[in-house]
Subunit: 272 residues, 4 copies
């Protein structure tokens, strides 16, 4: 069957290496497009190469789609691959020029195609749920402080606290501790109690963020410890079993001794 042959073809090691090479090569050519000097001399060549590589990617995805059918989309990574290539096919003229710059997302296909990278990204994503609720808490803290900030300082300092979004951005900036003292000193000149607002936000936000970090470390470590503990338990189990096997052998030995004794006695006693 042709479908089977295409499947074998796209799963070939050499085909995958070819695609990886193309992704890296394409990343470089897209990077080179950012240089005006290079674009003036080789612009046409670079754009041509880009079109050819895109064509190959489209062909690759089409082949895979044909080979696997709808089960292709069962893997999140395949859907990821598909949408990245699909973005590149959108018309990118005029106001959609931003979309053109997203072509570089094709480099991210490396993550799917290099198993080591995929493993790391998967484990990064897997540790997200463990911090999910802390993140909800942080969002709540952000929201509450944003509303308070907007109401209190919004009219006097519209650049920082004019709208809810401006406040959230400012609070994010303050959480990164970047330039927070300038903002706090300026505002507390007018509202003396503002320092309480800023310092309590920094303390709460830092402590919560710190706990996001701790949650990840502790989760990862406790999983590893569980594994080590299970290994250890099973090792000790086999040691105990081996040792007791010897003991049981000794006891069996003893039993045979007794049986022999019994037979002897039986014989001797019955003999006379």
């Amino acid at each position: 069957m042709i479908r089977e042959k295409i499947k074998q073809f796209v799963e070939k090691d050499s085909f995958q290496k070819f695609i990886i090479t193309l992704i890296i090569f394409n990343s470089i050519t897209i990077g080179m497009e950012t240089s005006d000097a290079i674009m003036t001399s080789f612009g046409n060549v670079l754009l041509l190469i880009d079109k050819i590589i895109l064509a190959i990617f489209v062909l690759e995805i089409t082949l895979k789609l044909y080979a696997y059918g709808f089960s292709f989309f069962k893997s999140g990574w395949n859907a990821f691959d598909f949408s990245i290539v699909a973005i590149a096919l959108l018309p990118a003229s005029g106001s959609l020029a931003v979309l053109r710059s997203l072509r570089i997302f094709r480099s991210l296909r490396l993550i799917k195609n290099l198993p080591k990278l995929r493993f790391i990204v998967e484990s990064l994503l897997l540790s997200l749920p463990s911090i999910g609720w802390i993140f909800v808490l942080l969002t709540l803290v952000f929201y509450v402080f944003s509303v308070i900030g907007t109401k209190l300082f919004g009219s006097s300092y519209p650049e920082w606290f004019g709208t809810l979004w401006a406040s959230m951005f400012s609070l994010f900036q303050i959480m990164t501790l970047e330039g927070w003292a300038d903002i706090a000193r300026t505002i507390s000149d007018r509202y003396p109690f503002a320092n309480v607002y800023f310092i309590s936000f920094i303390l709460i936000a830092s402590y919560t963020t710190l706990n996001i970090f701790i949650a990840i470390v502790v989760n990862t470590m406790s999983e590893i410890q569980q594994k080590i503990s299970i290994q250890e338990t099973s090792k000790i189990e086999s040691i105990i079993q081996d040792e007791n096997e010897e003991l049981r052998n000794d006891i069996r030995n003893l039993k045979e001794q007794i049986i022999k004794l019994e037979e002897k006695i039986s014989k001797r006693i019955s003999s006379p």
Copy 2:
């Protein structure tokens, strides 16, 4: 009894979900109040909704107070709930406008009503005692450096070190490493030894803060390890018991063998 019925009503799953929905909805409307555009068009509606929701919250707390009596306040979370709603009932005109902005604290009721959030906040609070004394130490360091800073630099740089509070704020800023170099360079132009003051403060404060963090990680990890260790020990214990049970069976078997032998001998010997 009516008290019992109210208890059952406020503990109903659907009632709690209704309250959670109201809290989220109220948070959104309070957030919308920060936008002038929205307030011009829908201000009256938003304020009406706010009053209705507040009335429901007051009713909720009243019902609970009636149902549980004074034991309602035994739970810290209930007291927290009560005071948040109580704040909203204070008259908020004139100089108390700040209090009005605290209405958004009602969003924090989510923490009490969503078990997962409550669990996280509780564990955040529980890890506070383990860092309590390090915090006392940090306060002491802050106080000592504040007094020195105020005495040495206060007259020349009143904005940064004019009063004890100004010094503490500046030292907090320096601890967050935000703009510390500007302050240190400015002051050390006049007092060359000031660098010693700033660098030693940064080193001591960072090292102490670092240890706050380490204290939390180590405490959490060692608790988990204790649990894993206890699990492992009890697993190994049951393995040992199982194995020894077999051994004891073997020995019991042996014993029966000997008893049989004894009987045999007894019979045979006594028979002739």
Copy 3:
């Protein structure tokens, strides 16, 4: 003996609590001295109180010195106590005004006198040796980059890299990541290769500092694990001993059975 009585007196719980109260009270009065307003009204009172408290501290140390003799200085904490009080006795007029501000160091006596604080400070100091050699490495990195920085950028940017000390201060500032980009952008306008210098310094310094932190966490954790592991081993040992005690009982039982059998046989056989 009078020496013995003084010893008992200074070791009394009430005496120690009195000293702790005095230290805290003195810290507050020294803090109040930083306020000009308070000094104008109550300056004389505060200075009088300070002199009285100092006199009591001097008396306290003198009593302890008499009671313990030279063995008083065997404890590092006593020497610490002694030198803090001694500083306050230095004449503090004129150019030694800085020394006067060091009177607040008396607050640090709290560390010696509150066992919990002393424990924390001791454990902070104890984890220093484990990071000692990483610190030497960091110093070496600082020195090498300082010399290079001074030679390369010293003549053009004397404020940042004019002398070896200026370079070290700038590198410390860059290590804290405070304002490093301004310095790097300014200098790399003139020396394009400067970015390599700054980025490599940041990477090396961050990675080394990170490892200081990791060294502390890992050391503390592995000590705790050793303890937990020893506990677990001894618990498992006692479980094994208990279990085997039972086995040995069974075996002893068996032995008695055999001995009884032997006696029986002996009797019966010998009887006829």
Copy 4:
């Protein structure tokens, strides 16, 4: 053989201490050369000392090369030593003045010659592979964001995003959180969506960097735990063996008892 004697000489403890002393002394003299005041008075002396020490280093390396032959280069540290000394021999006039400043790299020979420092640097280098692929991922993220940044903001803000290198430097700056808010606020005045770009970069870069750190902690910890677990297992094994040795003794004892019984029976029965 002379080669053997030279080997013994360069491996002597006193010779190595002499070299370490020379390295430290040379580091200090090179440091002193940064001071114009010192250079005016003692410049000739310092430069003479430097030439003499360099001559000794060259002699040292030559002796070692003669003693060990090409196997000298098998150790990475020897190659490191060799290249540092070799740099100093390059002509350093004119445009190569930069190279002269690299003479201070000789201080790094301390790392090779002080075992404790060498151990730390080796363990720092050994933990690099464990973060290798996270680093590749971070590079990919940097590259993708650089290309997007250059394409979107390059024409309007050439200083920050003019070329791919400028973008990478700016992103590195943003990753260190230094002055990121200024850049983000300036650019988002013109491109409102820029905040999405900056905040998503900060979140992704921080989360990935955080995981570099976590990877090191977890790797180091899990190695230590493996060791502790193996120790514990072997201790428990020996406890079990000791205990079972006793049991086996008891059983052997029992066996002898039975054998004695058997003999007795045999004798008595056969006797009459």
